[in-house]
Symmetry: C2
Subunit: 232 residues, 2 copies
């Protein structure tokens, strides 16, 4: 899985390593969302000093996984429906623009690589129970490559550096295995086609529709759940 972030420089210092461990733990819910973080307790747990832990907390704050208030402490960010929808709105805007830029700035080799990647996903999806795979890793991988293809460092930083892990957290904790996999695949195909045609306007439009469709799908689910609860 070539899901490696060029922005992401490998962890050399101990604070980095603890940061990565905590990041994973938060994404997977092992450190539960919304809970308060006790510096002394976690420092003891990870066998490090409080200063080092605070350094790690600062990096978690940078990717919006924890929030801190002065003289009060840090809390893990909460997973709310509103928060999830807000992220989709931001992604629609930013990934749409990234797609437009990718149509301008991606090299022919990059495009070819993405096309072959999509074919691989298609076969492995058809082969076995690939729906989950596709939805989990393949989808992120696709979006990732488009973002990198924009060659816009600001876009890459915001989307891959900050929002990426928040998205992963929501996927993990809300269990996003929606039945949109096959439709998503078609949408991905058309997006790559537009990029290959160097049609930035269409590429942006398609990507925005693609993400908006996911958001509306979630909104629909929520609405259904609310009706269910109201009528019982």
């Amino acid at each position: 899985m070539a899901l490696i972030n060029p922005t992401h420089q490998e962890a050399v210092t101990t604070a980095d390593k603890v940061f990565e461990k905590m990041q994973q733990a938060i994404v997977e819910g092992k450190i539960i969302a919304g809970s308060k973080i006790s510096e002394p307790e976690l420092a003891k747990q990870y066998q490090i000093s409080r200063s080092t832990l605070r350094e790690a907390l600062n990096r978690l704050e940078k990717c919006h996984l924890v929030e801190r208030k002065a003289n009060v402490g840090s809390r893990v960010v909460e997973c709310t429906i509103e928060g999830l929808l807000e992220i989709y709105v931001v992604r629609e805007a930013l990934e749409g623009m990234a797609c437009r830029q990718a149509a301008i700035n991606m090299t022919d080799e990059d495009i070819l690589e993405m096309q072959t990647m999509l074919k691989q996903h298609a076969s492995s999806q058809a082969l076995q129970d690939g729906v989950a795979y596709y939805q989990e890793e393949g989808d992120l991988d696709f979006h990732y490559k488009v973002i990198l293809g924009s060659h816009n460092q600001q876009l890459i930083n915001i989307l891959c550096g900050q929002l990426y892990h928040l998205v992963r957290m929501y996927r993990f904790q809300f269990g996003m295995n929606s039945p949109r996999a096959s439709r998503a695949f078609d949408e991905h195909s058309r997006i790559i086609e537009a990029i290959a045609d160097r049609d930035g306007e269409l590429a942006e439009l398609l990507m925005r529709r693609h993400i908006a469709a996911s958001r509306k799908n979630i909104e629909k689910k929520i609405a259904e759940k609310n009706i269910q609860q109201a009528t019982k």
Copy 2:
């Protein structure tokens, strides 16, 4: 000047105060862009310990004003033309979306307040040498209010918390007093009109054109300067 960020919580701790001072110093170029930051030196300069200074540096890193490499140190971010254009691309996407959301989520009172604010700007602009004023503060103020009007916390965080100070830095250091002030005023008026009409699609379109126009204006200037240099 009601340019207060609700995101921005006032500085209570000393690290916060140093952070704000350094932020201002970087924006104004008193700490020169691209220069390396010496922790011991700055700690002595601000009369604080290195730990506190590092805390401040972490916050500067959060709003992308400094960059840090492990075991090497921190550098003030550089102001490059490419970086400026990248920011405009991100702003076009995000503020466009913020504008669309503002058309949905702003209250009638908020809209009325923005309309009166714009009229004030108009009169004070016509009154005296308001062009600079409008361009410097008024423009930021307008964009600020639209962003807040989106009521999307993610959008607000990214635009007001992170990009805002970078934009200020570029304005200050590149001396953006372009002659687009009067045209910008008309564009602002139309944007508010669209928001008042609750026409999110149009509001987004107009905001994107507004920002794209600024970007193209800069690109044109750069091109002219390059030709000048080439022919002399």
